[in-house]
């Protein structure tokens, strides 16, 4: 047979609660208990509110560049909800909602964007790694973390998040390939929000789906409506069960949309149409759950008002905690370099405000030392 079939496949798209309020009972029933749904909704509202707070902080000069999560709350939240608390959650920078669900303190994230490493040092009680700035690199860490757990005989998987843009980096390919060939249980979640700063997703893939990025590695692949919390929960459940059982990775594309600018340093109006944004506003993941809960009598406007009040208080407390942290001392960025600081770094640290680099005063000839001291004193008076 000269022409035979070497490979054949099909990738499914899953949607459970769509933007018109249609709910697929078959897939969705019992997926999220009512009480949990309320909590998940509250978490999304709180996350969205913090986005606005952060935006204002940045605009008033109290924070540096900040990337809003707005519109994408359901993706990481769905995953964090499904994962066990000791599964690794290895994220990029637009997964606040999942991280907060995990228990990462809000001030940790705020501090990071306030340019303070101490944010990353704050308790990550539930196996969440710090925000990854160099795109596409963290998925390899997810594989390594999980491989270490597997080596230690622990029943632990990882779920790692990255963007449509980040999936163009070579490290993405290497991470997927390592996980599949070395049989490491990692759920890869590609958040396709249609943009990488100003670059449309069609510039980062010419394929009809991003889900098929996983076919290269023989992974099961799935595409879901990422603005549908039910679908993200469903997909992560399917994937995490598969990967936990088989020790093999799984690939999910969550289709979502970045409602805000790329970061506070960006102006999305330069490159995308308002009509597109408006259309996606109609597919908002939060609104969808709200309407669903209202229809099921799980929610009403009184509860909503109370929630907003509570969230405002909580978030401003988080901001206060982030802002009230003591001013860092320069010793910190030296001391964090190595477990035991090399002698040369000790000198650099201890003399940075008093001496020139490489100029150990004990090396100066006596009279020069004298002169230098005088000049320093004079200069101090002078300035």
């Amino acid at each position: 047979m000269p022409i035979t079939t070497a490979f054949e496949t099909k990738i499914e798209h899953i949607s459970i609660l769509d933007d018109k309020g249609n709910f697929d009972e078959k897939l969705g029933k019992g997926l999220i208990p009512d009480a949990d749904l309320v909590k998940l909704y509250e978490a999304m509202v709180a996350c969205r509110h913090l986005d606005e707070v952060a935006f204002r902080l940045q605009r008033s000069g109290r924070m540096g560049t900040y990337p809003q999560n707005m519109g994408q709350e359901a993706t990481s939240l769905g995953a964090a909800y499904v994962l066990r608390k000791d599964d690794w959650l290895v994220t990029c920078y637009r997964e606040n909602c999942g991280l907060f669900w995990r228990g990462v303190p809000k001030e940790a994230i705020l501090l990071h964007w306030m340019g303070d490493e101490r944010g990353n040092a704050m308790p990550r009680p539930h196996f969440a790694t710090p925000i990854a700035v160099p795109l596409g690199t963290q998925m390899l860490h997810a594989a390594g973390l999980t491989l270490a757990a597997k080596y230690r005989g622990l029943d632990r998987i990882a779920c790692t998040f990255f963007g449509d843009g980040a999936s163009s980096e070579g490290d993405f390919h290497e991470a997927c390939n390592f996980a599949s060939t070395l049989e490491i249980p990692v759920v890869f979640v590609l958040q396709n929000n249609f943009w990488a700063i100003s670059t449309p997703s069609t510039r980062n893939s010419a394929a009809p789906t991003f889900a098929q990025r996983g076919l290269s590695y023989g992974m099961p692949c799935l595409q879901v409506d990422g603005n549908d919390l039910f679908a993200t929960v469903y997909a992560t459940k399917l994937a995490s069960e598969y990967t936990r059982k088989t020790n093999k990775p799984y690939f999910i594309e969550m289709v979502t949309y970045r409602l805000g600018d790329h970061t506070t340093a960006d102006d999305a109006k330069r490159y995308r149409e308002q009509a597109e944004v408006d259309m996606w506003k109609g597919r908002d993941p939060i609104m969808r759950i709200k309407n669903f809960m209202i229809a099921r009598k799980l929610w009403d406007e009184t509860k909503e008002a109370a929630l907003l009040e509570r969230v405002a208080v909580e978030n401003s407390e988080a901001v206060a905690r982030a802002e009230n942290i003591a001013t860092p001392h320069h010793d910190e960025f030296f001391d964090a370099m190595y477990e035991v600081l090399p002698a040369d770094l000790v000198i650099q640290r201890d003399t940075m405000h008093t001496h020139s680099l490489g100029q150990d005063p004990s090396q100066l000839p006596a009279e020069a030392r004298e002169r230098a001291a005088q000049m320093s004193a004079a200069a101090a008076n002078h300035h």
């Binding site: 540096g64 340019g115 303070d116 163009s168 990488a196 960025f333 770094l345 680099l357 490489g358 000839p365």
Partner: protein, 322 residues
């Protein structure tokens, strides 16, 4: 003659050279419609079309690898790497191919390309947006490394790079992208690569610096009552050792200022060369004012890390007191 900042001077240089040489092609992340995150390529896609100015997928090794092929194919690509910290993924293509293709093929293939990279700290940016990796590439034979410190220099040097037959990394000190304005001729001019500029003359001490640090050096010199000569390297590799040696032979003292970490920063090479060339004229050890041997801290503490005028002043005093 127009009063331009660095961003505008670079933009102008690109436009003028692109008008002349249709082999110049710009590529990178968000350089098209968006004009780059610093707006350096603003308006260029509109002006020159999508084939000459285009956005790439988000992958730096790909950007440089593609550019190498384009250069081997007869164009002069001008890839932009969005931030210094993201040169990392492109390191291998730069070092294993761009730097070697001419030597590997004894000239049969060459890689004329100008890699544009915003560089350095001081703008309150997130992690990996404030690095100074010039020494890494100066240690890579086959590349040239350029870093202007003013709008005038930026235009003249960039035009020279765009006419270079060999690969150049053109570092743009982002801290002074918009901080300095000066008169920049509309007319064509180039500044030769490998030639330093004497910013101000002096007799008692020489400062050697480049990029945004030149500004801190000038501040320190203004505050000083001593006669200090300031040399802006302009090109890191090949560097103008003659200009430095001549100056230090005259003054007998030297302070080198750069943002990159001290150890094995380019200041080390300059210091070693000065010793080799001016040993008998040196009256004090060469001083280095540099970033510390730590990771560049997040922005709350970046000003503690970066060499500033007071630190330069202290080094001047220490060196003169020796």
């Amino acid at each position: 003659m127009a009063n331009l900042n660095l961003v505008q001077a670079i933009n102008l240089a690109l436009i003028q050279e692109m008008e002349k040489n249709d082999g110049i092609v710009l590529l990178g992340e968000d350089i098209g419609v968006n004009g780059g995150v610093f707006r350096v390529t603003e308006g260029l896609q509109k002006r020159f079309g999508n084939a000459r100015v285009f956005d790439t997928p988000l992958a730096e090794s790909g950007i440089i690898g593609l550019s190498i092929g384009m250069a081997m194919g007869g164009l002069h690509p001008v890839p932009e790497i969005q931030f210094d910290g993201f040169l990392g993924p492109a390191y291998d293509q730069l070092v294993s191919h761009a730097a070697r293709m001419r030597s590997r093929t004894r000239g049969a293939y060459t890689v004329p390309m100008t890699v544009r990279v915003p560089v350095g700290g001081g703008i309150h940016a997130p992690e990996l947006h404030s690095e100074s990796p010039e020494a890494i590439y100066a240690h890579t034979p086959g590349l040239k490394v350029v870093m202007p410190s003013s709008p005038y220099d930026a235009k003249g040097l960039l035009v020279a790079c765009l006419r270079e037959p060999d690969p150049v990394i053109f570092f743009e000190p982002k801290r002074i992208y918009r901080a300095i304005r000066e008169e920049v001729p509309e007319d064509e001019y180039t500044l030769p690569l490998g030639k330093a500029r004497v910013v101000c003359e002096g007799t008692e001490l020489t400062i050697v610096s480049w990029g945004a640090s030149v500004v801190q050096c000038m501040q320190a010199i203004e505050k000083s009552e001593r006669s200090i000569e300031l040399i802006d390297l302009r090109t890191i590799y090949p560097f103008d050792v003659d200009a430095v040696a001549e100056s230090v032979s005259k003054t007998g003292r030297c302070v080198i200022v750069h943002e990159a970490p001290l150890t094995c920063g380019f200041g080390a090479e300059i210091s070693a060369r000065i010793m080799e060339r001016c040993f008998l004229q040196l009256e004090a050890p060469v001083q280095r004012v540099a970033g510390f041997d730590t990771t560049m801290p997040y922005y709350k503490m970046e000003l503690e890390y970066l060499p500033d005028a007071p630190r330069v002043s202290r080094a001047i005093e220490d060196c003169l007191a020796y």
